[in-house]
């Protein structure tokens, strides 16, 4: 099998991640922060270890790393916790529904910029919209549909200069690009465990920068935190403010081991390998008039359609040949204005460090021999 659907979730997981999950469920671990016995403290130590790794990876303090059930939960917390009804929010036209739906639920007035543009034009659009009174920028660091990476550090610098909150969706960028929330002017970065950090699904994190005003973010979920039980409101201190209820220990353990994996390989090497796989695919297929690729920029993915064939059909046929890809709208309908004009979406190939140029060649052979009309 060839797995080219790593933007959905990375596969395979590193052996160290599998071992960490096994250990978390079979080892003697209690509920972190709930009790002072050895098992609870062992769990707490494991959780804190992951906090430290995330803090180091993304440029903040461990106390500013708040675990959630995933990146979507983190984005919901950041967006719904920060934005009041009627507030103007700047966002891009490449956003996933994990951004668009919480913005709608928050009753934000969205002002959208075109992200398929050069950095200067993107920043110009954002600055113009900030001057119209926007309080917040919410956008992805890297598209999940097109090979487009937004200039998040420049957007962050602009937001900081203008005193605007910047919420960044790191779903596709974490573990692939170097992001430092302090350096890059990001107030809060939302990341998942199970994509570029190579963990399993079930955990994510809200990563606040050291200078973010956390008091401006309301917690969405209330409940036990293991501290201050006599108070009927959630604590002011992070991370507990955003961590009501029991934490997903096995997923956090997997994320911790996944970060070690990313650190041992290095994001630059991950990008280099993925770019080699992308180049191999484009080298074989980009001159074929039957295929149209959308965008040739950086990022861990490629997106295309085949003339005269629906994207879902192409994905089904590839599946019959043992190739896993994702077709359709990828939960990011607005990004597809840059793909099929009929609104049916496109085929996405998304790569990870595990993919090889041999796999790319096998994929291309199957495409040319069996799939292309």
């Amino acid at each position: 099998m060839i797995y080219f659907d790593n933007a959905a979730t990375t596969y395979p997981k590193p052996e160290s991640v599998i071992e960490a999950v096994n250990d978390a469920v079979s080892g003697v671990y209690g509920n972190p922060g709930r009790g002072g016995h050895a098992a609870a403290m062992a769990a707490a130590e494991l959780v804190y270890g992951c906090r430290v790794k995330l803090a180091k990876a993304f440029g903040t303090d461990p106390s500013r790393v708040c675990f959630t059930g995933g990146c979507t939960a983190a984005l919901n917390t950041a967006i719904l916790g920060r934005i009041s009804p009627g507030e103007r929010v700047i966002t891009s036209d490449l956003e996933h529904n994990s951004v668009m739906r919480p913005l709608r639920a928050a009753k934000a007035v969205t002002d959208t910029f075109s992200a398929a543009s050069d950095d200067g034009r993107i920043l110009g659009q954002i600055d113009e919209k900030i001057k119209k009174g926007a309080a917040c920028v919410v956008c992805t660091c890297a598209s999940n549909v097109l090979p487009v990476v937004l200039p998040y550090a420049k957007i962050g610098a602009l937001c900081r200069k203008r005193g605007v909150t910047f919420i960044a969706d790191g779903a596709q960028a974490a573990g692939f690009y170097d992001i430092d929330v302090e350096r890059d002017g990001i107030d809060v970065l939302c990341v998942p465990s199970h994509k570029g950090l190579y963990g399993i699904p079930g955990a994510g994190a809200l990563i606040f920068s050291p200078r973010a005003d956390v008091s401006r973010f309301k917690p969405l979920v209330s409940g036990g935190t293991g501290t201050d039980p006599l108070s009927v409101i959630m604590p002011e201190t992070v991370p507990e403010r955003f961590e009501a209820g029991t934490l997903p220990l096995a997923a956090i353990a997997s994320m911790s081991a996944g970060i070690d994996h990313v650190n041992s390989v290095g994001t630059e090497n991950i990008r280099r390998k993925v770019e080699a796989v992308k180049r191999a695919v484009l080298g074989w297929l980009s001159d074929d008039g039957r295929i149209k690729f959308y965008g040739r920029g950086p990022g861990s993915l490629l997106c295309f359609n085949v003339e005269g064939a629906g994207c879902e059909r192409i994905a089904r046929e590839l599946d019959l040949h043992g190739i896993c890809v994702r077709a359709g709208l990828h939960c990011s309908p607005s990004a597809h204005k840059y793909t099929a004009p009929d609104g049916t979406g496109a085929v996405r190939l998304s790569f990870s460090y595990s993919n090889t140029t041999d796999e790319a060649e096998r994929f291309c052979r199957i495409m040319t021999r069996f799939i292309l009309p």
């Binding site: 972190p32 922060g33 009790g35 002072g36 403290m41 707490a44 130590e45 804190y48 906090r51 430290v52 303090d61 461990p62 106390s63 935190t225 293991g226 501290t227 201050d228 039980p229 006599l230 604590p235 201190t237 991370p239 507990e240």
Partner: protein, 71 residues
């Protein structure tokens, strides 16, 4: 038994942060759950250090900007 000092922290995360700050300062400490009746605030976590390290530990926590109370 050796006499010990306890620093109460606002959360478990801060207890671990405090432990790291003390380790950096060369002070051995342990994260412990505190007795709710003692803290008057219910469940809390703290750092246990030997009594002899108390003053240096206090300074290290202040340097690390970690808010604590001494019990």
């Amino acid at each position: 038994m050796m006499k010990q000092s306890i620093f109460a922290l606002s959360s478990l995360t801060y207890a671990y942060k405090g432990r790291d700050a003390l380790t950096e300062a060369g002070i051995k400490s342990g994260v412990v759950r505190l007795d709710g009746t003692e803290t008057k605030k219910g469940c809390r976590f703290g750092l246990r250090v030997s009594y002899g390290d108390r003053d240096e530990a206090r300074r290290a926590l202040i340097r690390a900007r970690i808010v604590f109370t001494e019990t």
